[in-house]
């Protein structure tokens, strides 16, 4: 089993997440798809770390940072979604176009 398997799995998860971000209407679902993309990145980081010849901790440490930032991002984004729901009465992203043009 080589590195290529993990890279292809990661590419598949990232592409599915990208499709969801582009297609979904609900803000919560877009957030879930961003989590999928972050996890695809984490698989790649840890795979490269595990297959490096004298093993280095860098990949795993950066994966820990990615998980930290993901947790912070989820907290903030959900606060914004709750505020959006209070003001607009829905979490439909297509209706939030105040700052579009």
């Amino acid at each position: 089993m080589t590195l290529v398997y993990f890279q292809i799995l990661s590419a598949a998860l990232f592409s599915i997440g990208l499709y969801g971000v582009l297609v979904r209407r609900s803000a919560v679902l877009i957030l879930l798809c961003i989590e999928l993309m972050l996890n695809a990145v984490n698989i790649n980081l840890i795979a490269f770390s595990a297959y490096s010849e004298p093993i280095v901790a860098t990949g795993q440490v950066i994966a820990i940072f990615v998980i930290t930032i993901a947790a912070a991002e989820v907290g903030l984004a959900l606060a914004i979604i709750i505020n959006l729901f209070r003001n607009k009465g829905s979490v439909d992203i297509d209706e939030v176009d105040l700052m579009k043009w």
Partner: protein
């Protein structure tokens, strides 16, 4: 077929199937639970890559914290607005873009240098040592970012209440 390859294929099916469920499910709650399934599959992949600590963190943070918080927000913003459950009109072009990205990434992975064939595990002590010596400043900055995000979340949800 070796045992680890078999485990990898089962985990891949769980991961990709859960991810497809998140993208295609009509119900938001179903999508959240399918995301949890997919993320637990990713934790299994971490175990296969001999990263036990990351697998533990994945189960704790995603299974224990993020999914629960997302479910809370879904309950708080539950509207009868069926419109927001459907997809928008970008579906064909989004499909082409994501399939193209997958093709490019797979091509790059296959044609690239595959490197060595041996996975090696990183000791807990080495990971902690690296995290608190070489990466000490980024670690502190990450904790500061978490604090700022926490305060920001409180302020943003308070603002809506006053209006």
């Amino acid at each position: 077929m070796s045992a680890s390859l078999l485990v990898f294929f089962v985990l891949s099916i769980v991961c990709v199937g859960g991810a497809l469920g998140v993208v295609l499910a009509r119900n938001v709650v179903h999508a959240t639970f399918l995301l949890l399934l997919s993320l637990m599959g990713v934790a299994g992949v971490f175990l296969l890559l001999l990263a036990e600590f990351l697998a533990l963190v994945q189960v704790l943070i995603y299974g224990g914290a993020i999914t629960i918080v997302v479910l809370f927000v879904i309950m708080l913003t539950k509207s009868d607005d069926f419109h927001s459950m459907t997809d928008n009109q970008q579906r064909p072009i989004a499909f082409i873009v994501s399939l193209g990205l997958f093709g490019v990434l797979t091509f790059a992975a296959i044609t690239g240098d595959t490197g060595n064939n041996v996975r090696s595990s990183l000791k807990f002590a080495d990971l902690g040592d690296s995290l608190f010596t070489k990466w000490a400043i980024p670690f502190e900055v990450a904790s500061l970012i978490l604090l700022v995000a926490l305060i920001g979340a409180i302020v943003i949800s308070k603002q809506g209440e006053e209006e």
